[in-house]
Symmetry: C3
Subunit: 153 residues, 3 copies
């Protein structure tokens, strides 16, 4: 089954790829690796903002992390990479806007990690780091960047 068919089966519609907030590009391909810039969480077109432990619930945080993951996929597609070319999700870097007493970053970033496994199956199982940060660009609740391995043509 193609990844596009699997997305449809999962009821997933990819968001419109967001323009970079600044002077960089969303995806760089070097050799068989695609590096995706840190993506912010848009749910129904609105940025999810705030801090876990303060004004963002864990459920909202998980949904935000999933939204970052969807945007990562959208950026690959917008860069001309078919999701069927992905041979492995190599690494996710998860940053969770957190008060100093919120230690639930792994649970939050699972929103993105689970998405990768839902979409790519075993090839979606990745290495990961998840950390708290005091604040993110535009006051986003979560940011996730990624490294993918691509099949050579």
């Amino acid at each position: 089954m193609s990844i596009e068919a699997r997305l449809t089966e999962l009821g997933i519609k990819l968001p419109k790829a967001a323009a970079p907030v600044a002077s960089y590009v969303p995806v760089v391909v070097h050799g068989s690796m695609a590096y995706v810039s840190g993506q912010l969480p848009f749910v129904d077109g609105e940025l999810v903002t705030g801090h876990l432990g303060e004004n963002v619930t864990p459920e909202q945080g998980i949904q935000a992390a999933r939204a970052c993951g969807l945007m990562i996929l959208s950026q690959l597609v917008a860069a001309g990479i078919s999701l069927d070319q992905v041979s492995r999700v190599v690494k996710l870097g998860g940053f969770v806007s957190s008060t100093p007493d919120f230690p639930g970053q792994p649970h939050i970033i699972n929103g993105a990690s689970d998405l990768m496994v839902d979409v790519f199956g075993d090839a979606g199982r990745h290495a990961r780091s998840a950390v708290g940060v005091p604040v993110l660009p535009l006051n986003a609740a979560v940011e996730v960047d990624a490294i993918f391995a691509l099949e050579s043509d």
Copy 2:
């Protein structure tokens, strides 16, 4: 000398590889590179928790960083990679749970960096970033992720 023999000579016994806190994997190998997920510090089986600058001393922080490094090595071995296959420690990413007035992250992450040089010699000399964060998963004091280069068979 094999790395196993060097570990014995150094009096180092690797910890049991910890299960991922969430839905990802500890190690992904792509080409000649192994990406290791962010590892938390277990000393004598107990997670080292707290914040540098508040309730964790620099000495405890250094020991915690070293424990992260040991867990990174354990994860490689648990993934079926012999430490003798490591041709270079390429990069460590060090995250130190810190109050805003604690600027000693390099000194703390040296606990992991020095371990790599102790174990691998010149091949253990790596690129690195070290930053403060307000909080880490499970309130850990330190988290370290890593990229290794492996010899082709």
Copy 3:
């Protein structure tokens, strides 16, 4: 035009490569990739310290990020890599020392991103993450690490 000539044209004089603050190395080359350790901002030989949102202005922050970028280039050169060998700036990781209410990290890290495009043109367009952190080594205002692709000889 060589990159050296372009630097001269831009009026850019690279700083002296700073010694690592700790037991690691500034640059590791593996295959066609160069990993550069997180660099701190020296302007006129002085480290730019403090927190955005508190005692560092956005203008100072942007200049600090540019200074990190210059130091990254200096480290490549000091490691024996000609800037003419750079085929692509692959990824920048930007860390901005921030109070929890300062959301302008992209604007700050543009200081480094714009430099890469100024120096390398289209090859300087990179993937990026930019996040806030509560504190950085030596109380630096900004830290940036980098991955470069190098031409094979």
